[in-house]
Structures are given as C-alpha cells and as structure tokens.
Symmetry: C2
Subunit: 339 residues, 2 copies
C-alpha cells in the first residue's frame, strides 16, 4: 500500500522542534497508512529525537539549513530564504513529493507561501484560513479567520461553498448549515457587502441558513460561519479571549480556599470534559481552503497533541474528495451565475 | 433643591411597563435628588402601579396614547407616531422639561430619535452607542456598539475622545486606556480605516494605548474599546453569547447529579459573584454619546434592577461635566488638526 506523505515544518511554532517530533511519532503510531517528512536542520532534528528517545520510524528528514527570525516579513522568508523549513515543506508538496503540508509557523508566511508555491483551485478567487472552533455543545468552521481583510461578495460566497464541502467531506458533518456573520438576521441587515453576499449565498448549492448574529455563533447557530478576514479574526480571537475568561473564572471559583478545592474534586470529571471541549488542539489545524493541495496551519503554540491531531486532520483531508468537490462546485456556481 | 428630572419611556422593552415602574420606584427610594417622568398610556401605568402597590412618589406620568408595533420602522415610529411613549420622552428632553432620557425600546428608533429631537454636540460627526461591558476582572466601554456601520477615521477618533471622557467623568475611571479594536497590535495592522484612525487617535488628547486584538478585549486590555458599528456589534453580541456559554458550562458542571449539586453548594458565593459580574444590569444602560443631552438606552430585556441602575447611570451622567467636556475636547482636537 502506498503511504500518504505528510510534509511537516519541524521548525514552525513555539514548541518546535521537540513537540513537532513527538506529535509526528504519535501520529505514525496511530495511522499505519501515513509517513511524515520533517523539514528543518537535520542535525538538530536527529539530536532531539535521540535525546528524547523518539522513534523515527516512517519519519524522513529533508534538510532545510536556513533559520527564520521572528521579525522577518513573510515575503522575505519565502523569497530570500527558500531553503528555510517552511519553504522546503512547500516545495515537497508542490513537486509531488508530499501529499499534504503542515506548519505551525507564521500565518502570513503560510498564506503567501501557499499561493506562491502551490496554485489555487481553478476558479477560486482567494484562499481562506478556516478554523474549527469549539461551540457550546459542538464545533463549527469559521472562515476567513484573517487571511483576507477586504472581500467581495463572490469571495465570501466561495468561502461558504468551500467551508460547506470541508465540513461535510473532512469533518463528517451532514448537510452543514452555512451562515453569514452579520449584525442582524434579516436579509437587509449589515453593509452593502453583507446584503449582496446574502443574495449570492442564497443561489449557491449549499445549505445556506441566512445571517447569523455573533451571539448565536458560539451557541451552535451554524456549522460554517462565513466572514471577511477582519471580522473573522475578531471572532476567532474574542472567542479565545473569552475561553480564557471562562478558565480564569473556574480557577477563581475552585482555587479560592480549602472548601472550594473539595468542591472542585467533586466535579473533576466535568471540569476535565469542559477543558477538553475548549481545547483547540482537539480540533486539529486550520486548513487553507482554496489551495489545490492540502495545506494546514497549526496553532503557533501547538504542543505534541496538537501536532498529532493536525496530522490526523491532514490525513482526512488527503483521503477526502474535498478539493475535487470544491473545484466542481465553484465551476457550476460560476456557470449558473453567467446564465 | 431642584430635582433632576429623568424622562423614562414606560413602554420600551420586553418587561414594560411593570419593570419600568418598579425600577423607577426603586431609584426614587435610593436617590432623593431625582424625580421620574414616565411616558406612556396613563391608565395602564396607573392601573399597573395600583395592582402591584408601587409608590408613585416623585413619579409623574405624561400621557402618550400611541402604541408601537414591534415591526414598525424607527423612522415611522417617530414621524407618524409622535405621540408614542418614546417620542414623548424625547420631546420632554428637547423642551427642557426633563434632564435625561431613558428607554429600553428599539435601538434604531432611539438613534434616529435622538438625532432628530435633540441636536448633536457641536463638532460631533456621529453619535455612538456606548456599552459598558464586563471583563475578566472589571469592565470597559465599547463604542460604537452598532449605531454606525460605516465610519471614517475622524468619526472613530471622536468615539475615542467621547469614550475617554465618559469613562473618566461618569464611570470614575482614572486616565482611561483607549484602544482601537484591530487584528494586530502594530500600527500598520488592519485595513486603511484602522491604519488612518491609529494615526489620528495618537494626536488626540487622550491616553491612547494603541491597537487591541480581540483576544485582549475581555481580558482587561483597555478601558475604552473603539470600533466601527459593525465590528463593535459583533464584539458586543459575541461576548453576550460567550457569557451564555459560560453560564451553560457552569450548569452542566453543577447540575449533573447529586454530588455535583453538593459541590455547587460549597462554592455558592463565588458562583453568585461571577453571575453578578457577568450581569449586564449591573452596569446601567448604554449612553448615546455625542448627543447634546443625556440619552440612555437600556437593554431590551431589562428587569426592574436594570431600570433602577440605568436611572442611576442617567443621574451620574446629568451630574457630570461629560457633555461640556466632550464639546471642548472635540473643538480643540479639530483646531489642532487644522494647524
């Protein structure tokens, strides 16, 4: 059986390369149909694996000698440092040496890199950073989460189509409810962008359920939330901040004194369940939808589990028909528009 | 001593008129320097007061015979139904018969009404709906929360100035930190509107602390958060939704079984504190800043306590020098710009 090859940037993120290695080894153990190609400084990767006794079975290293400084611009990273770990991983994907790309490096660099090394799906105007977020009792996909600040109605409509296909084909959600983030439910609400996008989304072959007010977003109001990159980024980060408020609030309740600590013991299981639900690492990475090959961005502070789950996500993505389906749906939507 | 007269729309909000009456009577009891003028159908107000044994001491009724249907447009409400409870309250304020206006009715109608019955403060471009929101360990002012979808840099800068003065003079926050809601901290981040507004806010005579990412908004990152009405409304409602998630999460933890209920008893006080902190009614209503007289919007689902606290807020607003200070600061900022 031919194995799926996942190119992983070993030097992206706050916990690289150790947690990248650990996560990769864990994923390899779970799925016997994958292999991992780590890109980065070979000697450091090898030394780290040895020091921490991490198995390198089905993990190949492709040397990438350049080191990126945090403050370097994304364009510079990919143009001038084409032998840095991220660029090398992109090249493996571009040349067919890998089937998917994963990095916890700079979002801007991944967005720029994906569009320069890999082409977009035919007909797609913009690639969208698409983040799976926890909601009150489940999860939803938010796109765009910050890659495209200025969007036109057609761009947002394509986001709706791509998000719907990803949730159905990769995340296994049946007939996903796609909604447009807006400041009211009626179709006349919001600015011109929202009003025009509403009409266009109505004509797409997806389960468009209309506008969604921000209040209903974390309360399971939709499976796919469509937003321009500015609004989407505000939603993403505000939910992160409020997650932190929730966690701080629980700490203040339970760590106040000896009695509150006893109370915490009594509901330990439920607290653990809640923490798990709120934990972004459970949901894998954020795909860059619209790129012709699977490109996944992991959270900058990813730990080993987050990398393992992002590799799992990459595996589902490669196995799915999502990219082909996006191309076909976008094509037929464009044809319909021209009628 | 001359009493402050607060005009209160007795028929605005989900719990009108009963909770409006109750809240007014409670406020009257707390503050002996105020009187309340309730606007609405006299016979219903009188019957409600009698039925619920509510004291009408220092509460006057001004009859407003028209009834507004929920689906009526704000323009229609105020033009065609100029004898509805909200319009009558505005007229009292306009004619100097009242010192402040309070309503839990339609936000759009209040925004339109304030601009037509009362003039804006000299030099102010747009009035901003300004909401006090709970944060992790305190509170902050968000403006605009939804009255102005499209904003120019000068409009946002004025919001910063007005918000700073309100927080200092009415809410008692010393040297409030004013920040611009954006998708990154550096001054080059965001769209043209954000980049230009950043430069203009730097020149205002306020404690401008730069851009704030949405993650830091609920984590006490600023005392005044400046946003266009679309972004501000998304922030407001998403925080409401996440507050509901927090409350649902606590319920799931504590109401699971007999043991979890014992656990809840042990931390009862802390849970109560948290609920109080998250309770919007604690923070009074939302002022419409930029209008030449105090206009306050109470939450649509306000209960008696919310009305009482909104009247308290109106009282502080009238007592303060906020409106005069806004006029002076806006004037000197405009002069500085022209230099």
């Amino acid at each position: 059986m031919l194995k799926m090859r996942i190119a992983v940037d070993a030097f992206g993120g706050d916990n690289a390369p150790l947690d990248v290695l650990k996560g990769s080894a864990e994923a390899i153990k779970l799925y016997d149909d994958i292999s991992v190609i780590l890109t980065g400084k070979r000697e450091i990767i090898e030394a780290t694996a040895k020091e921490h006794n991490i198995s390198m079975e089905r993990i190949k290293i492709v040397d990438a000698p350049s080191v990126i400084e945090v403050e370097e611009s994304p364009i510079k990273i990919l143009k001038e440092k084409s032998d840095c770990s991220m660029a090398v991983a992109f090249k493996l994907l571009a040349e067919g040496e890998a089937d998917a790309f994963l990095s916890a490096g700079s979002t801007a660099a991944i967005v720029v890199g994906a569009s320069s090394y890999i082409k977009k799906i035919k007909g797609v105007k913009r690639a969208a950073l698409s983040t799976v977020m926890p909601s009150d009792t489940g999860f939803f996909l938010l796109l765009d989460a910050g890659a495209n600040i200025d969007c036109k109605p057609e761009v947002l409509t394509q986001f709706g189509i791509m998000g719907s296909i990803y949730m159905e084909k990769v995340m296994g959600v049946n007939n996903p409810r796609v909604a447009l983030a807006n400041i009211g439910e009626e179709d006349c609400k919001g600015d011109t962008l929202r009003v025009d996008t509403y009409q266009m989304l109505k004509d797409a072959s997806i389960n468009f359920t209309g506008n969604i007010e921000a209040r209903d977003i974390p309360l399971d109001g939709a499976d796919v939330v469509v937003a321009d990159g500015f609004t989407g980024n505000v939603i993403l980060k505000l939910m992160e901040g409020m997650g932190k408020v929730l966690s701080n609030s629980l700490k203040r309740i339970f760590f106040k004194n000896a009695i509150s600590k006893i109370s915490a013991l009594l509901v330990k299981g439920s607290i653990k369940d809640l923490r798990k639900k709120m934990d972004y690492t459970e949901y894998g990475g954020a795909p860059l939808l619209g790129i012709a090959k699977p490109v996944i961005k992991a959270h900058g502070s990813s730990n080993a589990k987050a990398f393992r789950n992002a590799i799992r996500q990459a595996r589902f993505f490669v196995q799915s028909t999502a990219i082909k389906d996006i191309e076909e749906n976008i094509k037929s939507f464009s044809a319909k528009k021209e009628d």
